[in-house]
């Protein structure tokens, strides 16, 4: 086994992705070959990566390895500690199933867009995410991070003839690079404080850094990685960029890529920076609560299936941040076992969200490929046309709505328990934040259930609302295989949550600021109990309980009623003819909740009426558009943009268009720098 976790295996995995990328590029004129080569190699690489990272999780850390370089600061080194291995496992798990899905899904791009390019960037994207999770040098990390951002950017604008994709891509590009600027700033501060760019050395050197520096690093890392994770109000790129990409890429972006932001937040706040401050955790709790609540409310108001799912990513990132925030608070208060519990909750939710969000995006991709529209109002009745996709989507919906006995429920349960411990053991002000976080989490899961009743009900149930949808058919074998795999993962993660918690407890315990504390105790029958029996749960028992009860009641009812018939009739329509237009719409479904939250959401409605006559007595066509005012754009990004334009207006005067002038600027800068050098030495 030790042999399996050697660095050469890791390089081999990277080589498989490289082969996939170049192979797809080489066969770019032959769509089928490019598809098979690109995606099957990606699947193979991911499978190997999954086994590799799983072995690391079981066997223990792999110490830093890699090639140095002639530059003193950049060293191409990797380290697979438990945290890295965990994130690599999440990446590879989702990438594996997404690649299988892509084998069938990509077919509908044949002849329309270059499948070779897709395969190239797809492999590059997965490989760069693995590098991000495993790199051991800040500079190398930045390079991997940038490759990841650029690869995903090209995937977002893959459908390049859609202007919406291009716009989404540009927004993503700008936001992610603004974020990177903050990350660079944080890294520079670290370098200044420690004189090294290797993670381990930085972590050791940070002990002497002043609180001011540590706070500054945390804030800029929070902003920088927060953009990638999609916390509110830095989320604006997310709902437009994720849906624009091909669905298996959306699944990866939403399920995995945004988690790389979480990965670095965990690493920086719980390992690299020694002794976190209380207020970091509180800020994360507030941001997490706000992101989860607002994310789900925005999702409710969406009628574009993929945008809806993208907003749910924001919500789930919020839930993860609740766990992480709790962990930081506990760690700063010196309660290591509680910190381990809280972090285990966050990591478990990270894993869970990756599985069910990927499943939902893949399901949405199948639906969209079958119906050629993303507008949820046009769907309906797909459960009869695509029964298996519907079942998988239902499993995903139930998991994301935190319904037992699936995995989403367990990680929210764990998050709740961590927050409860905060309510018990902390002082009054901190406690208040925790109580509100509990409330936010409770409301969030309720609203998520409402949102997925809408998403699943309007999409799959009732009757088709448009002609195109009634001709839809079940997707191919590979997509269904991938979705089935994710569904099984969801069920297994729910059932064997006890084992997963033990594993995550090890991951969390390996971090410096938690110091080996155990997250939860395991008792018989796969049951998990936290804090010496404050709470305990056994997911298999819940699962078996529901199953047994359902079987028993079905048997009893069957015995009682076996002589009675079941007749198929038309839906009760009060005697009038029922048309699909009479079914509830997604807008109608969620409008009541939006109206309740109108203070926060600022709903808008525009009425357009065309009249028959000039006196406007007889309306011909009426159209009401209901939506939301974009608060973030109006109050944050628009003013920011105006300010930038204004500043840019001043700076155009500097831009003469004359090369000589530009070189003169360089010259002046050089001289000025010399002066500066002289002054400092």
């Amino acid at each position: 086994m030790d042999y399996f976790t050697s660095p050469s295996v890791f390089y081999a995995i990277l080589a498989v992705f490289a082969a996939g990328a170049t192979g797809a590029l080489a066969f770019r004129h032959h769509d089928r070959a490019a598809n098979i080569l690109g995606n099957s190699l990606a699947a193979a690489g991911s499978l190997a990566g999954l086994l590799f990272s799983g072995a690391v999780l079981l066997e223990g850390d792999v110490p830093a390895f890699g090639a140095g370089s002639s530059f003193s600061l950049l060293s191409i080194t990797f380290r697979l500690d438990q945290l890295s291995a965990f994130f690599m496992m999440v990446i590879c798990l989702i990438a594996l199933l997404c690649s299988i899905y892509a084998l069938g899904y990509v077919r509908h791009y044949y002849g329309r867009y270059s499948v070779g390019m897709l395969g190239f960037f797809y492999n590059l994207f997965i490989a760069s995410m693995i590098l991000v999770a495993t790199s051991h040098n800040l500079l190398f990390f930045l390079i991997a991070w940038e490759v990841m951002s650029l690869a995903s950017y090209f995937l977002v604008i893959y459908e390049r003839r859609e202007s919406a994709s291009i716009r989404a891509g540009s927004l993503y590009f700008i936001m992610t690079h603004a974020g990177t600027a903050f990350i660079v700033f944080a890294f520079l501060l670290m370098y200044q404080a420690t004189g090294s760019l290797d993670f381990e050395a930085v972590a050791q050197g940070m002990a002497g850094a002043s609180p001011l520096v540590r706070n500054a690093i945390f804030i800029s890392a929070l902003v920088g990685f927060g953009v990638k994770a999609g916390i509110i109000p830095l989320h604006i790129w997310l709902p437009s960029a994720h849906p624009a990409a091909p669905s298996h890429v959306s699944a990866l972006m939403s399920g995995v890529m945004i988690k790389t932001g979480i990965y670095m937040l965990v690493r920086i706040s719980l390992e690299i920076l020694p002794g976190p401050f209380l207020w970091w955790g509180l800020v994360l709790l507030v941001i997490g609560g706000a992101s989860s609540l607002l994310g789900v409310l925005y999702a409710l108001s969406e009628h574009d299936l993929k945008r809806l799912l993208a907003y749910h990513s924001i919500e789930n990132i919020g839930i993860i941040l609740l766990g992480l925030g709790g962990a930081i608070v506990f760690s700063s208060a010196g309660m290591n076992s509680l910190a381990a519990l809280s972090l285990a909750a966050a990591l478990f939710h990270t894993l869970n969200h990756a599985t069910f969000k990927a499943l939902l995006f893949l399901g949405a991709g199948s639906v969209i490929a079958a119906t050629h529209t993303r507008n949820i109002e046009k769907y309906g009745g797909l459960i009869k046309l695509m029964p298996q996709t519907a079942l998988f989507f239902l499993i995903g919906s139930m998991a994301i709505s935190a319904l037992p006995p699936l995995n989403g429920f367990f990680s929210e349960w764990l998050t709740f328990q961590a927050l409860f411990q905060g309510v018990i053991s902390l002082d009054v002000t901190t406690k208040t934040v925790f109580i509100l976080a509990v409330g936010a989490l409770a409301f969030t899961s309720g609203l998520a259930a409402a949102c997925f009743v809408k998403a699943f009900g309007i999409t799959f149930l009732a009757r088709p609302r448009s002609e195109a949808v009634s001709r839809a058919s079940e997707t191919g074998i590979f997509p269904r295989l991938a979705m089935a795999g994710l569904s099984i993962a969801i069920i297994c993660l729910g059932l064997f949550s006890g084992a997963v918690v033990r594993l995550l407890s090890g991951v969390g315990g390996s971090l410096a600021n938690i110091g080996g504390a155990e997250a939860a105790d395991a008792a018989g029958f796969e049951s998990v109990s936290v804090q010496n029996g404050f709470a305990s749960i056994s997911m298999p028992a819940v699962f078996i309980g529901i199953g047994l009860a359902a079987i028993a009641i079905t048997a009893v009812v069957f015995l009682l009623t076996r002589r009675r018939q079941t007749v198929i009739g038309r839906t009760w329509d009060c005697g009038a003819d029922l048309t699909p237009r009479m079914e509830i719409t997604a807008t109608g479904f969620s409008r009541s909740i939006i109206t309740v939250c109108r203070r926060v959401l600022r709903p808008s409605s525009e009425t357009e009426i065309e009249y028959h006559d000039a006196n406007r007595y007889f309306p011909k066509i009426g159209e009401v558009t209901m939506g939301l005012h974009d608060v973030y754009r109006t109050y944050i990004y628009r003013p920011l943009q105006d300010l930038l334009t204004l500043l840019a207006g001043y700076t155009t005067k500097v831009q003469s268009g004359n090369i000589n002038a530009y070189i003169l600027y360089i010259f002046i800068t050089l001289i000025a720098l010399l002066f500066l050098l002289d002054l400092t030495t």
Partner: protein, 309 residues
């Protein structure tokens, strides 16, 4: 051996008794309206009749519509086995966590709401929409009110909570009382009683719960009616045994448990009277006034949690 018997009683008690308490509540309401009303055992007859009737299912309905009643009923059975009924010595550490109960209830609501949409009728959809609105906004108050008693007793296991709540001195029972108020509001919302929903309405436009089940008939309607009766009794039981746990047995001897069962019936009866009185004395609220009430429940419960410890 006795333990096994008690467990069987525990599992069967809720489904066996629940139609009676629904019937009793209706009868008390009828009396308050100066009517004789149907017998308290009327719901048993209704369920029996429905089980012996044919079923008509819409051609637009899918397997979800067919499976939902069984699953919903199953969740109430599991919850029934997870809540304190008669003895605090009986502890279910597998599914007894209050979050399990809250989320199993949410699972039932989720499935029922989907079933409401499934047939493509005009009423089912908005019934689901309203139900989810109420259910989503109830969650906060429900979780925090139950958290209050959980924190006081130092465990979130419902079956272990009553023991220590019983020993809280009256002078320190303010959080319990506040939590009970928050819980009651959440209970009325979850069980579709006044002022949230009219359980006996015939007007489609004012329905919440009823609108979703308009399409059900025969055995599946029986199951749905029975599960909502179960849900009602579950909430009443939680209210009675978590917040007023006096009279619960603390051992598994036969005599104290029998006594505890009697006390339990009396407590539940009193709460049913209270619900009936409340329903007879207030009007149903406009749907957009409901969130205010639910947020009130949340705030009261949050204050209660804050006061603990």
């Amino acid at each position: 051996m006795t333990q096994t018997i008690f467990w069987i009683i525990q599992i069967l008690l809720i489904p066996v008794l629940s139609p009676f308490f629904i019937g009793a509540t209706r009868r008390i309401k009828a009396r308050l309206q100066n009517r004789a009303g149907a017998s308290s055992f009327q719901p048993y007859r209704d369920i029996w009749k429905l089980l012996h009737k044919d079923e008509v299912i819409s051609e637009d309905a899918s397997w979800l519509f067919r499976a939902a009643p069984y699953l919903i009923f199953a969740t109430t059975l599991v919850i029934g086995a997870s809540i304190p009924l008669m003895s605090t010595a009986l502890v279910n550490s597998y599914t007894g966590d209050f979050l399990v109960v809250v989320y199993l209830l949410a699972l039932g609501t989720f499935l029922l709401a989907l079933a409401g949409i499934d047939t493509g009728g005009a009423f089912g959809g908005f019934g689901s929409s309203r139900e989810m609105l109420v259910a989503a906004l109830t969650e906060g108050g429900l979780v925090l009110s139950l958290l209050t008693v959980a924190l006081i007793s130092g465990t979130t296991n419902l079956m272990a909570i009553p023991q220590s709540i019983g020993s809280v001195p009256f002078s320190e029972s303010l959080p319990v009382i506040l939590a009970f108020i928050g819980f009651s509001i959440a209970m009325l919302a979850e069980t579709c009683r006044y002022p949230f929903d009219n359980p006996s309405t015939h007007l489609e436009l004012t329905m919440i719960h009823e609108a979703m089940i308009l399409e059900y008939s025969g055995k599946r309607l029986a199951l749905i009616e029975w599960s909502s009766a179960n849900k009602y009794l579950i909430f009443i039981t939680l209210g009675a045994n978590l917040f007023f746990p006096r009279g619960m047995a603390d051992s598994l001897e036969l005599a104290p448990v029998a006594l505890a069962l009697a006390v339990f019936l009396i407590k539940v009866g009193i709460l049913c009277v209270a619900v009936a009185l409340l329903e007879s004395s207030i009007a149903k609220l406009r749907i957009f006034r409901l969130p205010d009430l639910l947020f009130t429940s949340f705030v009261i419960s949050a204050v209660a949690v804050g006061l603990v410890g």
